[in-house]
Symmetry: C2
Subunit: 106 residues, 2 copies
């Protein structure tokens, strides 16, 4: 679903990845991390889509919330497992959302 974020300014973490192969542990961990992120202060929403590429964009109130999420202990462990086992390549981009536009069919 498209995330119902507030009016800008807010932040986006654009996380783009390719994985080494299908892996049940990876899928379970990814789901768990989404649930955990949703419980964090400053979390605004998340959008995810995947085919060859996995794109997950999470939205945050400010850089402080992103830093806290980055330093979350369970998230740090998951990230290390990702680096050691699951990801072939990834790129994380921290971006300040300055404007947005919506369309909804009537």
């Amino acid at each position: 679903m498209i995330a119902h974020t507030p009016l800008p300014l807010y932040y986006a973490v654009i996380f783009t990845s390719t994985i080494t192969g299908e892996n049940q542990n990876y899928a379970a961990m990814a789901d768990a991390m989404v649930k955990l992120a949703q419980q964090q202060d400053g979390f605004l929403g998340i959008e995810s889509a995947r085919n060859e590429l996995d794109i997950t964009v999470s939205y945050w109130l400010d850089l402080e919330s992103i830093k806290n999420w980055r330093e979350n202990a369970q998230h740090s462990i998951a990230r290390e497992m990702g680096r050691s086992d699951w990801y072939r390549t990834f790129k994380t981009r921290i971006a300040k959302v300055e404007r947005d536009y919506n369309f909804e069919r009537e």
Copy 2:
């Protein structure tokens, strides 16, 4: 593929959409728009993934390049067809990429 963007600062256009149904014209137009975007001044890269949600993130040198792309005649026509026929809902977010991090398996 993960886009090989330059060092920040640069801009991201995060375009998240759901469509009304599968449509060959939509798929062909989407492909044509990617090819056209790649020819524009200031274009830096594009990433796309899709399941129920379609997430396309394009990267641009500056706000001027994004404005020019928005005003491109063929792109404007495609956007109107999207509003009239294809999209159920979409959200466009313009964001300034301030930092990025990479991982590549050795």
